[in-house]
């Protein structure tokens, strides 16, 4: 490794650190690159250097990279479909319009397959969820050192380019879905109906505490499983990319070992990337399908 060498652990940490913007409390001791310690005179809004500082910022901090990337990708998706939708013609679709129609058809079919209620919001929601998550996951296929290097050259210390490896993003979306589930549950079944569903089954009214416990877990499990599944898959995938890159990074000068490492890094990361095409699509699809299924359950009066 080169002059300002990073240890393996540091390399991994660097890759897993979000660009966090938040307030460091007064009196916090900052360690800079040279090991100097500087105690802050007052609470300071700044960008965290490392996980420690990000932790010290507490809850009210923003992961700027997640924020920017997810907004950007969402905007790209919106803009693309907006442009196509505006220029849509009834004739023979070509190029992007053809693709978008295909995508909309695909999402529409799966919504029709798993959503039995009547709600015009579910289709667009499913489309947005699918493409947003897909594009966020897609960032995983960029070589992992590219974006951090470019950002470093621009003076940004950390940049995690895959928003879906940040639990904040996945939980954010899952909670959004959860709120929709609650909203429609109450809207369709009424407050009483929803409460009844939570408390009066499966054991009848005498088993109310047990019912509430079971159904409550059932309800809470929805957003948690939704968020953790996506996060876990993407985080693990990212981790493997980092480890493969790390292995290739143990470059020891021109030798047979180095050549082997170099070659195997290429092959392994290529293999993993190819496999990842499947995973990112699948995860986006699962998130979309589960969103639709949860909403469908929220719309069903009788179990």
């Amino acid at each position: 490794m080169s002059s300002e060498a990073l240890t393996s652990a540091e390399y991994i940490k660097h890759h897993l650190q979000n660009l966090t913007y938040g307030q460091l409390p007064a009196g916090y001791e900052r360690h800079d690159v040279n090991g100097n310690v500087e105690a802050l005179q007052q609470a300071t809004w700044t960008i965290a250097h490392g996980a420690e500082e990000a932790k010290a910022m507490g809850f009210w901090a923003l992961n700027l990279d997640t924020f920017i990337m997810s907004l950007l990708l969402g905007a790209v998706f919106m803009f693309m479909f907006y442009r196509v939708a505006k220029a849509a013609s009834t004739g023979i679709p070509s190029g992007l319009q053809n693709f978008c129609e295909w995508a909309v058809e695909f999402v529409d079919n799966s919504v029709r397959g798993s959503f039995s209620g009547k709600n015009n919001m579910v289709g667009p929601l499913a489309l947005t969820v699918f493409f947003w998550i897909f594009s966020m996951n897609l960032m995983d296929l960029l070589p992992i050192d590219y974006v951090p290097l470019v950002m470093q050259a621009l003076g940004v210390p950390y940049f995690k380019v895959v928003p879906s490896t940040d639990p904040n993003a996945t939980f954010g979306m899952a909670i959004g879905v959860f709120l929709l589930v609650l909203y429609y549950s109450i809207k369709v079944k009424g407050l009483g109906g929803f409460a009844g569903e939570l408390t009066l089954q499966p054991f009848g009214k005498w088993g109310m505490p047990v019912n509430l416990l079971l159904e409550g877990v059932n309800l809470i499990a929805k957003p948690i499983s939704l968020a953790l599944r996506l996060f876990g898959n993407m985080y693990a995938g990212e981790m493997i990319f980092i480890l493969i890159a790390l292995m290739g990074g143990s470059y020891l000068g021109l030798s047979a070992t180095s050549a082997t490492l170099f070659g195997s890094q290429i092959l392994l990361s290529l293999g993993w990337a190819i496999f990842h095409i499947l995973i990112i699509t699948l995860q986006a699809f699962i998130f979309m399908t589960l969103t639709v299924v949860y909403l469908d359950m929220a719309h069903q009066e009788h179990h």
Binding site: M1, S2, S3, E4, A5, L6, Y11, H14, G91, I92, P93, S94, N98, F99, E101, W102, L141, L142, P143, I144, D145, Y146, P148, L149, Q152, A245, G248, G249, Y251, S258, F262, Q265, I266, S269, L270, A273, I274, I277
Partner: protein, 156 residues
Amino acid sequence: MNINATLLAQTIMFALFVWFCMKFVWTPIIAALEERKKQIADGLADAERAKHDLELAAKRAAEILREAKEKSADILAGGEKRASEIIEAAKDQARTEGDRIITGAKAEIDQEVFRAKEQLRTQVSAIALAGASKILGREIDAKAHNDLLDKLVAEI
């Protein structure tokens, strides 16, 4: 941040990955999209053709209808003409027949009249003869006066 051969390896890997995607991911997707486009194009073309066919059929139907109307009008006109012809012919025939009947009847009447005259003449001659014989008081010898009688009859 350390820059080393990892970056090179990643770049090579990325190039290979992009190549892989172009060859094995992009191609089938594009093929599917092309297929879809073709299907839609075919469908639209079929619809267009069907519409065109429908238009042609409608036009043809209208034409056939018009022809049929014309033909029926022709037939109707022909029928009327024929009917009037028949009526005319029937009238002619009736007239000739009537004339013939009238002529026959007239001839018969003439004959009848002639016959009645003849009879009358004979009877008149007989009456005249009877009258004359009564006047003369005796019977005229018919044989002796036959000539005279015939002359008389002829004169009546």
